[in-house]
């Protein structure tokens, strides 16, 4: 039950993009087509889950154990950066097809703040490892959901008539605002 609550809260109620404002750059950047949005979502889910597990273990058994809490940010970002690099190399060797699909999105993920954000939040919320994993996967699903819906809307938007000054980013932001409003309807269900 507890895990279901974490899941619903992370996907709908506190959606990482639309209510916590993390990962906005890829949300605005790669949402022109549903296809690219799908690729980005898969890459983020992959990296986010693995990065959360690794940073969690490092925090508990290295940083906390040796009283190095002040090294948290620097350690986490280095772990994320090297994980992304390693994943790229492994994917290239093991599964060229998957590398083809995710390759271009992987380097972008290092500076995606939702990965570092989730890694830090899991520590702040004092989750155990299983809760942390559930939270990471749910957050990634929430990100994918928001990104895919948004990409679908933007595909439609590109063929409609938009006032001159609103073309491009402004209308995209306003659309995102309306989407965020829709997601607000979920608040209070957990």
């Amino acid at each position: 039950m507890e895990y279901i609550l974490i899941f619903i809260a992370a996907v709908f109620v506190n959606n990482i993009v639309l209510s916590q404002f993390l990962g906005i750059c890829p949300f605005l950047g790669v949402s022109r087509k549903v296809e690219t949005a799908g690729g980005m979502s898969a890459a983020v889910t992959f990296v986010l889950t693995i990065a959360t597990i690794v940073t969690f273990i490092v925090q508990k058994y290295v940083l906390d154990a040796f009283g190095l809490g002040f090294m948290q940010t620097i350690t986490f970002i280095l772990i994320i950066a090297s994980l992304v690099q390693m994943l790229e190399i492994i994917l290239k060797k093991v599964s060229p097809a998957l590398y083809q699909a995710l390759g271009v999105y992987l380097p972008l993920i290092t500076t995606n703040c939702c990965v570092l954000g989730v890694a830090i939040m899991v520590i702040q919320k004092d989750y155990n490892l299983l809760q942390a994993v559930v939270y990471a996967i749910s957050t990634a699903i929430g990100f994918s959901l928001a990104l895919t819906i948004f990409a679908g809307i933007r595909e439609q938007l590109s063929v409609t008539h938009v006032p001159e000054g609103m073309k491009g980013t402004p209308i995209a932001l306003i659309t995102a605002g309306l989407l965020a409003m829709a997601f607000m309807g979920f608040s209070g269900i957990v």
């Binding site: 639309l18 750059c25 090294m71 290092t110 570092l116 605002g177």
Partner: protein, 194 residues
């Protein structure tokens, strides 16, 4: 003269938010009030200026292939002490900015300026570039924060402009951040064309 030009370039012509559209997460996440937006902007300005100068001073000691991890370490070296200082001496700002202070590390503006400017220029121009870009960022955040606060609660910097009942709450909440920024960028696009 040249340095002044670099400074102004970051504030106006290449404003990171309104023109380059970088660093959107803190822009939307911390601007529920003008004062929070300004606090976040100034914190980022500090990090930008310091990292730009440090990176440009150290650029010859960092081999090309490992420059990105080295830059990230340098950035984090400035962000974490800043986080500690804010927690120690400005606890209320620390509470309202929260998670977004450590996340300055992954703010694309900081790494972007390091890569695009500091890695190629001298220490002094890099410092000015960081300062200019940071001030441009601060300006944008303060403007957005003031807009949202005014429309949401009728106040800016605790000065009341209209009764609170006239405010529309939505602008303080998440959707209002997107919508207000969308309209601000549309207005600025329009002004720039004229």
């Amino acid at each position: 003269m040249n340095n002044i030009k670099i400074l102004l370039n970051g504030i106006i012509r290449e404003n990171p938010i309104f023109v380059l559209l970088l660093g959107m997460c803190p822009t939307l996440g911390t601007t529920s009030s003008a004062i929070n937006g300004m606090g976040m902007g100034l914190a980022t300005t500090f990090v930008l200026t310091c990292t730009n100068m440090a990176i440009s001073a150290l650029k010859n000691l960092i081999p090309n292939a490992v420059r990105i991890p080295a830059y990230v370490v340098i950035i984090a070296t400035f962000v974490t002490p800043l986080q500690m200082f804010i927690e120690a001496f400005l606890p209320s700002l620390y509470q309202s900015l929260g998670l977004f202070i450590p996340l300055i590390v992954v703010n694309c503006i900081v790494l972007g300026r390091a890569e695009a400017f500091a890695g190629k220029h001298g220490v002094v121009p890099s410092g000015f570039d960081g300062l200019g870009t940071g001030l441009g960022f601060t300006l944008a955040l303060t403007l957005l924060g003031a807009t949202r606060e005014l429309l949401g609660s009728g106040k800016v910097f605790n000065l009341t402009f209209m009764p609170e009942e006239y405010g529309s709450l939505i602008f303080v909440l998440a959707p209002g951040a997107f919508i207000a920024l969308g309209f601000l960028i549309a207005i600025i696009n329009k002004v720039r064309k004229v």
